[in-house]
């Protein structure tokens, strides 16, 4: 801690006077409190907030919710919206997998859809994308997961466009009116740190159990990045373009439609990419509230240790994710095509026509050959059962069993449990002081006050112990991720080729829906604490490696050359030049790792944790909106404290080093 304080003082341009002293004093007080507690002399009310003092936040919130829901008639309104949404979802369900609803034309034959996707892939990015898109859909059909994959896609096809439209409109509003921007910003940061489980219960209550609730929760979760990217893009439109638009006499709407939006095309499409990826990740997670599809099947298979079958579903999800990601990214890069006047229709739209022809061809073919329309049960090539046995056999090999068993025992008994007990042994006020001191030393007074208020609320919420256990999982996993990830990243950054390869791996891994990371964890460690830590670790390591490599690779060459000339060894160069300069970027990676960890630790409740996530998951079984919300806010506030502190530090540091 003192190290950080010193560095913060030396390097931040204008350190506030006395910050270090105050931070020291706070740490000192915290240590003192803890020691008194160990000596057994601390009164109980200073160790933990007494239950009598815990305000009934959940009760109050419940009262507010039921007032809004029943007395103000919000439920009637949302139920009305549900009807419309359900109609859309039913129609898309009919088209994708043949649910018996209007318009009664589905399901699309798998061959036709695969062909259409391949054509889209070719249009966007040539043969490679065509192969990837077509291949993914053929794999899905052959492995016997077509119907569940289509159930997932049918919701995605509604949720993603909805999130896009709402996000775009709000983004435009925030760019146009400063007050909207001001009002939206804090809400967005809370929304982005709120655990996904918190979205689920209100969605079920207000929007009916099943796909409608899942679609609503997914849509809401995917909106924030769209808003951010839209505003970002619109703000960047250059004055010259705006002038040109004005001179040609555009009306306000025309300005938006023909000047601003096309100029912000790249950012908006990046937003679209994020919307699609988030939607996919979340649709899978809505299995927890009964959304059928890939997620539900994966949940059921993982729950019953059918690991081979889980693995196959995991592959499908990953393939879909990568395909959607690559295609939408290719769309970002692809410039709009312009044709000469009088180019015949068929020439301008040849790809569209080709797609249509293939689509119709395969649809007709499926009438003659039913196998081209639907692969029935028992006709697929799934090797799930064989894989199940293979994995079981592997885990039963003596040395594998010994290794995982040893890791489990060693990490649990020697590292994790003592660490958890240590964190739990710190008195609440001391813990809050430590966090505030950390924020003060790294970022400043404002962040320290946020830390005090946020953690103060967590203490008052009555869920302190569970919150600490959540925090313990996050810290333990991120620390382990750093121990493993940083050396990998530093090694990879030494050569251009390896850095590229590693970044590609990280990029790909980041497109995987979070749920996927649970599969290897459960495979290796079963339902144990280690599996929880392991899944968070892997998930959090990705941004850590990525930002570290980027940080190290973007160190200005002058700096490294200067180090070379002054005869530094490569170790000295790394330690004294590259890492300090890369630190702000690495901090961003750290921050993202922590955010990811907070996200994952809640989902990992599925494996069986004792933290806030477990309570959150438990609320999904009832109608305790108040409790659900309090728990979600606790997680969000803890995550926000770190987010605000670390991002402020990274920004300060970058400015001080003249990197921005």
């Amino acid at each position: 801690m003192s190290d950080n304080v010193d560095r913060a003082q030396k390097q931040v341009a204008a350190p506030q006077f006395g910050t270090a002293t105050i931070a020291f004093a706070m740490v000192g007080l915290a240590v003192l409190l803890t020691l008194v507690q160990y000596a057994g002399a601390l009164p109980e009310w200073l160790h933990r907030v007494p239950e009598a003092l815990v305000p009934n936040f959940a009760g109050w919130l419940d009262a507010i919710f039921s007032f809004v829901k029943d007395d103000l008639g919000l439920l009637a309104l949302t139920r009305f919206l549900t009807e419309g949404l359900e109609w859309l979802l039913d129609a898309s369900a009919n088209i994708f997998f043949g649910k018996r609803r209007w318009p009664n034309i589905g399901p699309i034959p798998w061959t036709a859809l695969a062909a259409a996707v391949a054509v889209v892939g070719y249009y966007l990015g040539g043969w490679r994308l065509a192969l990837m898109g077509g291949g993914t859909f053929i794999w899905t059909a052959l492995i016997g997961q077509w119907k569940i994959a289509m159930q997932t896609l049918s919701v995605l096809a509604i949720a993603a466009p909805l999130a896009f439209v709402i996000g775009l409109s709000l983004g435009i509003a925030a760019w146009k009116y400063a007050w909207v921007d001001r009002a939206i910003k804090p809400i967005l940061s809370v929304l982005q740190t709120l655990p996904f489980f918190t979205y689920l219960l209100p969605a079920v209550i207000f929007f009916k159990v099943g796909p409608t609730a899942g679609a609503v929760a997914t849509t809401i979760y995917a909106i924030p990045p769209m808003i951010l990217m839209t505003t970002l893009g619109l703000q960047k439109v250059s004055d010259e373009v705006v002038e040109a638009g004005k001179m040609s006499g555009c009306s306000k709407f025309q300005m938006l439609r023909y000047v601003y939006l096309p100029s912000a095309r790249t950012e908006i499409l990046v937003g679209v990419n994020q919307v699609i990826m988030l939607c996919l990740a979340m649709v899978v997670l809505t299995a927890f509230i009964g959304m059928p599809g890939l997620g539900a099947k994966l949940l059921a298979m993982m729950g019953s240790f059918k690991l081979g079958r889980s693995f196959e579903i995991g592959v499908t999800i990953v393939l879909l994710a990568v395909t959607l990601d690559r295609m939408s990214k290719a769309w970002v890069i692809k410039q709009p095509e312009h044709f000469e006047r009088d180019t015949p229709f068929w020439k301008r739209h040849q790809m569209l026509l080709l797609g249509l022809v293939l689509f119709v061809f395969f649809t007709l073919l499926s009438w003659v050959m039913p196998i081209a329309g639907e692969i029935g049960r028992g006709q697929d090539f799934s090797q799930g059962k064989e894989l199940d046995n293979l994995i079981k056999w592997f885990l039963n090999i003596d040395w594998v069993k010994a290794t995982t068993g040893f890791l489990r025992a060693f990490l649990n008994v020697k590292v994790l449990i003592p660490f958890r007990n240590f964190m739990l042994s710190i008195p609440t006020p001391a813990f809050i002081l430590l966090v505030a001191a950390f924020a003060l030393a790294l970022a400043g007074r404002k962040q320290a006050i946020y830390a005090l208020v946020f953690f103060g609320f967590v203490a008052l919420s009555g869920w302190w112990d569970r919150a600490i256990i959540t925090l313990y999982s996050v810290t333990a996993a991120v620390a382990l991720a750093a121990l493993i990830g940083l050396p990998i990243a530093i090694l990879a950054a030494r050569s251009e080729a390896w850095a590229k390869r590693m970044l590609l791996i990280c990029d790909t891994a980041q497109t995987f829906p979070s749920f996927i990371y649970l599969i290897p964890a459960i495979m290796l460690f079963g339902i144990t604490d280690i599996a929880v830590i392991f899944s968070i670790l892997v998930f959090a390591m990705v941004p850590l490696i990525r930002y570290t490599i980027e940080g190290l690779r973007t160190v200005p060459p002058e700096m490294t050359e200067a180090a070379d000339m002054s005869g530094a060894t490569s170790w000295q160069k790394l330690w004294n030049v590259q890492i300090p300069l890369a630190l702000p970027t690495m901090a961003v990676g750290f921050n993202q790792a922590i955010m990811f960890a907070f996200f994952m630790v809640i989902i990992a409740a599925f494996i069986g944790t004792q933290d806030l996530g477990q309570e959150l998951q438990r609320t999904l079984a009832g109608t305790d909106l108040g409790k659900n919300f309090v728990l979600g806010i606790c997680v969000a506030l803890m995550a926000l404290t770190f987010d605000l502190t670390i991002m402020k530090w990274a920004a300060d540091k970058k400015r001080a080093m003249g990197l921005t």
Partner: protein, 313 residues
């Protein structure tokens, strides 16, 4: 394209016309699916019986506690397994609010509680008393639980109150929730190999009793109000200080609009009644024979025509 549309609409119309003559609405009857096998198979069995009769049926996966709220609102049409021990509280609460009706009992006796396979008794001879179990807590310890014993409870959403009971009776146990019912069977199976003592959540009727003979732990007997009134049960200051009912009911429940909307289907639902062995057999088809639920249901229907054909005629 157009051809396909036409053909398909024609098909859909043909399908609808067959049902149009029945008194039942052609809207789908929504049957909920939860996360244990007998319920999944039974729901598919009943769904296929109703489809046989010409009703439209849809399945929706829901939480097993929240489902009663969904039934009240008509989002879900029926629930085929209302276990007294697990869902009695949610069911009663929903009955009080209105919108849900009790469609009668299955011919089955249910019990859900802490349970151990027989070999556990060798290591802890005082069983099945809960005090004896508590005295041997140490033999149930794992790497994660330290000195305390581990009790593997059902998935969190079953709201088993294991945690509360451990606190109320001051037991030396840590409650760990399994991810699903299958995780419970995996644990018993793993323990069987080296006859390791385990105590897990289990219930009857279930296939498990045929595969692994075992007993329920005898907790202080259930008294009405044990989950509402701290004074009931041995610990005067705590709820959940009793075992679950030892002879619980297994009910069917339905949305109160069902009888008017699908009268025929409702009449069938009233007649439906499964017995302990039948329910255990349904679970076995999925848990042991690894059939997909729809196939398991089809197979069960095939083999038990005499049971269900009486219900629809």
């Amino acid at each position: 394209m157009i051809k396909m549309t036409k053909a398909l609409t024609a098909g859909a119309l043909a399908l609808m016309s067959t049902t149009a003559f029945a008194a039942d609405s052609s809207d789908p009857i929504v049957i909920p699916i939860h996360n244990w096998s007998s319920q999944i198979v039974m729901s598919n069995v009943v769904g296929q019986i109703l489809e046989e009769k010409g009703n439209n049926v849809e399945y929706v996966t829901t939480d097993s506690q929240a489902v009663y709220e969904s039934i009240r609102l008509g989002d879900v049409t029926m629930e085929l397994e209302v276990w007294e021990g697990a869902f009695g509280a949610s069911f009663r609460a929903a009955l009080e609010k209105g919108g849900i009706v009790d469609v009668g009992d299955h011919n089955a006796v249910t019990r859900e509680d802490w349970w151990y396979p027989m070999w556990t008794k060798d290591a802890c001879p005082g069983l099945p008393s809960w005090e004896a179990l508590n005295d041997c807590a140490a033999i149930f310890a794992t790497a994660e639980t330290g000195e305390k014993g581990r009790y593997l409870d059902g998935p969190v959403d079953w709201l088993k109150h294991g945690q509360e009971r451990v606190a109320a009776l001051d037991m030396d146990f840590v409650v760990v929730n399994a991810g699903s019912a299958a995780a419970l069977w995996a644990e018993i199976g793993a323990a069987e190999a080296d006859k390791r003592p385990v105590v897990v959540f289990n219930w009857t009727p279930n296939f498990a009793e045929a595969v692994w003979p075992g007993e329920f732990v005898e907790f202080p007997a259930w008294e009405d109000g044990c989950d509402k009134d701290p004074a009931v049960g041995p610990n005067p200051d705590a709820l959940y200080d009793c075992g679950n009912p030892a002879t619980g009911y297994l009910k069917k429940a339905a949305w109160d609009g069902m009888e008017a909307k699908w009268p025929d289907a409702y009449a069938v639902l009233e007649k439906i009644s499964f017995t302990n062995p039948q329910i255990a057999q349904m679970a076995k088809l999925v848990d042991i024979d690894e059939l997909e639920p729809e196939d398991a249901a089809a197979q069960w229907l095939e083999g038990n025509k005499d049971v269900w054909e009486a219900w629809i005629n």
